[in-house]
């Protein structure tokens, strides 16, 4: 058994923290986890991706087509990660747009979602979630990554349960912060189930 998860986003969005939380929940379940974590220049506001591998694995790099789940923190970065997907890969996409300087600098605007999601072939289903709105509802913009993790758990393809993630959150947060993250997790789980897939709309 192996579960390969790619988390993709923009430096500063909390991609690494999300990877740590997923890893922690899996280790709470007693599973073997390997995670890649790239630091340094590659982090500064540029594209960032973290690979989390659970089960019988050796290295931290997920091969092309081997991802079971892609968690995209941002639409453009989600699509970049899809280049490493197969048509069996499940995809969650947070709708928060962060305009790359490469566009603004040339007076260009962020492409709309239909153009972006239309770039991949139709065989892949992309489930969109407005994690920022749900995070704010939970009480803090910073809980965006917990909302997105909730969405991943909601899809039911992670090899651990909601309770394991709650324990992982408890290890990291206390008091009011824990409450915010607990709510964020719930909103994410409910949110993904309520949402239609972005690619089929």
């Amino acid at each position: 058994m192996r579960t390969n998860i790619i988390i993709a986003g923009v430096g500063g969005q909390g991609v690494v923290t999300a990877g740590l939380l997923l890893s922690e929940a899996a280790t709470i379940r007693g599973m073997h986890v390997v995670m890649s974590e790239i630091h340094g220049l590659a982090q500064r506001g540029g594209s960032v991706s973290v690979d989390v591998r659970i089960g019988e694995v050796y290295g931290s790099i997920i091969g092309n087509g081997d991802a079971d789940l892609i968690i995209g923190f941002e639409p453009i970065e989600t699509m970049r990660a899809i280049a490493r997907a197969s048509n069996k890969t499940r995809v969650i996409m947070n709708s928060e747009k962060i305009t790359p300087v490469s566009l603004s600098m040339h007076d260009k605007e962020y492409p709309n979602n239909a153009i972006l999601t239309g770039m991949a072939d139709k065989s892949i289903e992309i489930r969109e979630i407005n994690a920022v709105a749900l995070a704010k509802k939970a009480g803090s913009y910073k809980s965006v990554n917990t909302v997105i993790i909730g969405a991943a758990i909601g899809l039911g393809i992670l090899p651990f349960e909601r309770e394991d993630m709650l324990s992982a959150l408890k290890n990291r947060f206390s008091g009011k912060l824990y409450d915010i993250n607990r709510d964020a997790l719930e909103y994410g789980m409910e949110g993904i189930l309520a949402n239609q897939s972005a690619s089929s709309s």
Binding site: V16, Y58, I61, N64, K88, S102, Y141
Partner: protein, 628 residues
């Protein structure tokens, strides 16, 4: 940012306890377990977290930690500690070992008393480096043992073993990781913590420690004998092991991260291989390898970068007259460049072993997506400096300026719209290279260097430029930290690696003492003063220095947040004339266009206010957000 929570766990003396550790954290733990008393480094990715952790824990762990001025000095400090009887650990990124190579070659001759391990974190695929040199080769040039771990557990365990080897033959040991090993997170079972002396004593022995030719002659012969004896140790070492999968038809020899990607391929396709996994790679276990070669008709060497193992395996086959077919890079099956991944390794193995690789990727043209390279942070003082310098050069009507850049966050000045890096080679090169341009051409030369890089290796270049009457404008981008690698201290700061108060070394006093006449210090957030200082320097001859001093935006953020003095800026659409200067020329990542209007992303605006200055927004359309 590095996750620092639970750092104190690294000090627990509970053998058997398991922690989920970054390779570099496991290495720091390995140093603590080994009873290291002195640890030194110059920060460099992918080695940086080892220092961040040890700096944080030094006092509690009872060790002395130093962010040295550069790698050469770091190794010298660790060496004198090791010959005073204290276990010492020095670590750096691969290119740092070039800086430290001079002492390394000679301390191999003199040897050490207590253990000395030198770690090189190599960077295949150059995630944050200028080249991907394979530093295993240094172990051959220096005649020192080489240890290569593959994951976090091995990183910790092998480091302890490296200290044992070092003390066995009183020889420095090279410990080599790569980005994927240093930055892989995995479960690590802790061991016990060894107790070692805290204070050393140096017993004089000039015949051994003064590397005059008369002494070095004999020391070289001793060194060769040490390595000869270590061959037997490598032969029986638990770091070198054989694993068999299926019928074990093909033999595979591998080490480091290549082992991981190769094993993922083996388990994905269910291949029949027997794997000789090497962790002690110089001297190699020659008998073990020749036996392995004899037992297999076909042996594949899987390793990243140079054919370090492959050439030696082929040599062993030749010396033992073994006819086994050997596959690797030299016959074109594997590449010499970049890190391996499960796809490249599966591709190479399938060509040799003849199995079908399944390629099931989704079709998408990722090259059509807008690129998102790393950028200077919102509020980064370097953006303001680059903006001002570019304006000054234009206003002064300078044709064909040459921008000589250096290593740091500010290397990103190479990108649009700044384009203020024409050349960038290595740490401290901006001034030496700049001085060369001034000799070779009539062009105006502007060199950029960061504060940490200035101390690391910039100073000799300035002395050279002044003494040889070069014309160079040097802009020291002093952001009060070593930013790119995670905000370590440097000699320009009032705190050192132990967290103790330290004397600040003044950049201005140094350049004045060298003889620079035009020395100006400016706050880059103040675009006007910066512009005037640069324009002034452009009228000067000789070497002029501008110190653009303003702390890294990340440090400023942390302080503002803790003081709850957070502010942000926004665009007033009534005043904005859509001149596009802020997006086209200043290009802070927080500023973007939506629905034909300029907007500022309130989640990432850092509140520096530089975009609100008339030099960026001539219409005063950018205003501070007034919170009620």
């Amino acid at each position: 940012m590095i996750e620092m929570s639970g750092l104190n766990d690294l000090l627990t003396n509970e053998p058997g306890k398991k922690l989920f550790l970054l390779g570099n954290e496991a290495i720091a733990r390995g140093a603590i377990e080994a009873g290291v008393r002195v640890a030194t480094t110059y920060p460099g990715t992918p080695s940086s977290e080892v220092g961040n952790v040890l700096s944080e824990l030094a006092k509690k762990a009872g060790l002395y930690f130093q962010f040295s001025v550069n790698e050469k000095v770091a190794i010298e400090v660790a060496y004198s500690s090791a010959i005073s009887g204290l276990r010492s650990f020095v670590f750096m990124k691969h290119v740092g070992l070039n800086v430290a190579a001079d002492p390394l070659m000679s301390i191999a001759y003199t040897g050490v008393r207590a253990g000395l391990v030198v770690m090189s974190a190599d960077d295949p695929s150059m995630f944050s480096s200028q080249n991907e040199q394979d530093n295993r080769n240094y172990s051959e040039i220096a005649h020192i043992p080489l240890i290569e771990p593959s994951n976090s557990q091995e990183a910790k365990d092998f480091l302890r073993y490296a200290f044992e080897i070092s003390e066995m033959e009183h020889i420095p040991v090279l410990f080599r990781t790569t980005t994927r090993v240093s930055h892989q997170r995995g479960m690590v079972e802790l061991g016990d913590i060894e107790k070692k002396d805290a204070v050393g004593f140096f017993k004089s022995d000039p015949a051994n420690f003064v590397a005059l030719p008369v002494n070095s002659m004999g020391l070289k012969e001793k060194l060769v004998k040490k390595m000869e004896r270590l061959k037997t140790v490598s032969e029986g070492s638990k770091l070198n092991r054989i694993e068999t999968y299926g019928s074990g038809k093909y033999g595979i020899i591998t080490s480091g991260e290549a082992y991981n990607v190769m094993m993922d391929t083996v388990s994905k396709y269910g291949l029949d291989v027997s794997v000789l996994k090497l962790g002690f790679t110089n001297p190699l276990p020659e008998e073990m390898i020749s036996k392995f070669l004899r037992e297999h008709g076909n042996v594949i060497v899987v390793e990243e970068l140079d054919p370090f193992l492959e050439t030696r395996v082929r040599m062993i086959a030749q010396m033992h007259s073994i006819g086994t077919k050997i596959f690797g890079k030299l016959d074109g099956y594997f590449t010499f460049s970049h890190e391996y991944n499960p796809d490249t390794v599966a591709g190479s193995l399938s060509r040799i072993m003849g199995f079908d690789t399944r390629q099931v990727s989704v079709e998408i043209d990722a090259t059509a997506l807008p690129p998102r390279p790393p950028v200077l942070c919102p509020g980064c003082p370097h953006r303001a400096t680059y903006y001002a310098v570019k304006r000054a050069v234009k206003m002064s009507n300078i044709k064909n300026p040459v921008y000589s850049s250096d290593i740091g966050c500010y290397s990103l000045g190479v990108y649009d719209p700044y384009n203020e890096a024409d050349v960038m080679i290595e740490m401290g090169s901006s001034i030496g290279v700049g001085g060369g341009f001034s000799n070779a051409t009539d062009q105006k030369v502007i060199s950029f260097i960061g504060d940490s890089t200035f101390f690391h290796s910039g100073i000799p270049g300035i002395i050279n430029a002044v003494h040889n009457a070069s014309n160079v404008i040097l802009i020291v981008m002093d952001n009060r930290t070593t930013a790119m690698t995670g905000q370590q201290s440097n000699p320009g700061m009032n705190v050192n690696g132990m967290g103790d108060p330290a004397p600040e070394v003044s950049i201005e006093a140094i350049v004045r003492a060298i003889g620079v006449q035009y020395v100006k210090t400016v706050d880059p957030y103040d675009l006007k003063s910066t512009l005037l200082a640069v324009s002034g320097a452009l009228r000067e001859n000789g070497v002029s220095v501008i110190v653009a001093r303003r702390e890294c935006a990340m440090i400023r953020d942390d302080r503002m947040r803790s003081k709850k003095e957070w502010k942000t800026f926004q665009v007033n659409p009534e005043k904005c004339k859509l001149c596009m200067n802020c997006v086209e020329k200043f290009s802070c990542p927080a500023i973007f266009i939506e629905g034909g209007k300029i907007e500022i992303d309130q989640n990432i605006c850092d509140g520096c206010g530089v975009c609100a200055e008339p030099y960026v927004c001539p219409f005063k359309a950018i205003e501070e957000v007034q919170t009620a």
